[in-house]
Amino acid sequence: MLELRAVRVQAGSFELRDLSLQVPRGAYGVLMGKTGSGKTTLLEAVCGLKRVVSGSIHLGEEDITSCRPGDRGIGFVPQDTVLFGNMTVRRHLGFGPEIHGWSRQAIDARCNELAEDLGITHLLDRKPLGLSGGEGKRVALGRALAARPRMLCLDEPFSALDEDTHAEICDLLKRIQQVHHVTTLHITHSRREAERLADVRFRLENGAVQAA
């Protein structure tokens, strides 16, 4: 379970205060809110990329508020995908496990398993340049899932996708989340997306989180 307890985050002059929410273990949580409401800031705080001024963040029984981003067991898919231009798709999938010290054999097995799950086996030796939007999202998702995180944070993962690809990735996300039993926090401003995917819904408005 992900739990935020009276979290206060500051990013320059922008501030979020007293944010509290709970996403049950294995559930798909969707956080909605207008552009500029602080959704990304909140997600980055959960991932450890923004400093929490006060309050605490818990994942399961563990207080992860002051953990390094890499020690939180959270996979992050940013809005703009952010694939590493110099790495092949295979290396993207193997990067997290490699950093966590997995054996070569285990990394290869995980890459093949994920590539099959995500339908990107044919792309394994390609570099990001030239991949379609949908393919890029799949690679970013695989990269985030590779080291078997306890949680997945998705920052508007469907932005800049056409209608068909949007539906396709939506189904894929829900299936992957169920197969991998990973607690998910997905941020979006699309009500349609929330209705399609969410087990629990929240809205970030005027600096406060409310159940939606």
Partner: protein, 299 residues
């Protein structure tokens, strides 16, 4: 459909476009004229004679060595400095940024003079920097009694004079390179388990390789063209601190204009090679990694 070309080529646009072409063309003509003037002034025989001259061969050798060492040193400093300026906010950042431009803006002779004063007129714990360097490296004389350790008017002075200016250009190149790579790359690397150092070495730097290459090439080229600081700080002693830029100066001084032009043509050739390398490899810089920022996800 028929109106489209007319819109681009209306009569009133003519003077504007002709004006642009005339101004750009005039400057281009000046550059081409300079090259042509040099080329028509020398013969193949005089170029061969210059290149066969032992002093000039030494000068070419020292130029290649010092420029390469300068480029390497510049990148050792420019990569971390560019990264620091691009990614972190700290008190006095604007001042640091401005100070780093000083070597670019200062007259070259002033840089040479300042280096000379720094090494000979600023005492630190009772000795000048030149004396400290000589003291620290006096063990060299045990191995090679013919070598007197020091910096000024020696090869290290050539490298330091070149480095002072070249490094500033390299820092600018690296800062721009890192600016073009979104910091989210490192953020993602951090969530994947990297620490800051791993995110830099494994994710950021490999994506910045074109910028590193461009920075090193520009630093090398800048070092090649350096003259003023070398003349003041390292001197222009034949066979000791003579590099190609000072060779041109020495050849003019002894009245060998043919030799000076021949060496100049060699420098022009090297500069052209560098420009071509930068244009073909470096100009793409990190834009080639736009894919990594999501921008390259085109079907």
């Amino acid at each position: 459909m028929e109106e489209e070309p007319k819109r681009h080529r209306t009569r009133s646009d003519g003077p504007f476009f002709y004006g642009l072409v005339a101004i750009a063309g005039a400057y281009l003509l000046l550059i081409v004229s300079l090259l042509a003037a040099d080329a028509q002034y020398v013969t193949f025989a005089s170029i061969g004679e210059a290149l066969g001259n032992a002093d000039i061969q030494d000068s070419i050798r020292l130029t290649l060595v010092t420029c390469t060492v300068t480029a390497i040193l510049s990148m050792v400093v420019a990569v971390p400095t560019g990264y620091l300026l691009s990614r972190f906010r700290f008190p006095g950042k604007r001042l640091v940024d401005a100070l780093l431009d000083i070597p670019i803006l200062l007259p070259p002779l002033v840089i040479g003079l300042s280096l000379l004063i720094l090494f000979h007129q600023v005492p630190i714990l009772g000795r000048t920097i030149e004396e400290w360097v000589a003291f620290a490296f006096q063990w060299i004389t045990w191995l090679r009694p013919d070598i007197r350790p020091g910096v000024t008017f020696k090869v290290p002075a050539v490298i330091l004079a070149q480095f002072t200016v070249s490094c500033a250009f390299a820092v600018r190149t690296m800062k721009t390179t890192f600016d073009q790579i979104h910091p989210r790359h490192e953020d993602v690397a951090l969530t994947l388990g990297c620490n800051r150092s791993q995110a830099f070495w494994l994710v950021l730097l490999p994506q910045a390789w074109r910028g590193v290459f461009t920075g090193a090439t520009l630093a090398w080229a800048r070092a090649l063209g350096e003259f003023g600081p070398i003349l003041v700080f390292a001197g222009a002693t034949r066979g000791r601190t003579e590099v190609l830029s000072t060779t041109v100066f020495l050849e003019i001084n002894i009245g060998n204009l043919q030799g000076a032009v021949a060496v100049s043509l060699l420098m022009i050739l090297l500069a052209l090679v560098v420009i071509l390398i930068v244009r073909t490899v470096g100009e793409k810089t990190v834009l080639g990694t736009a894919a990594g920022q999501g921008g390259g996800m085109h079907a």
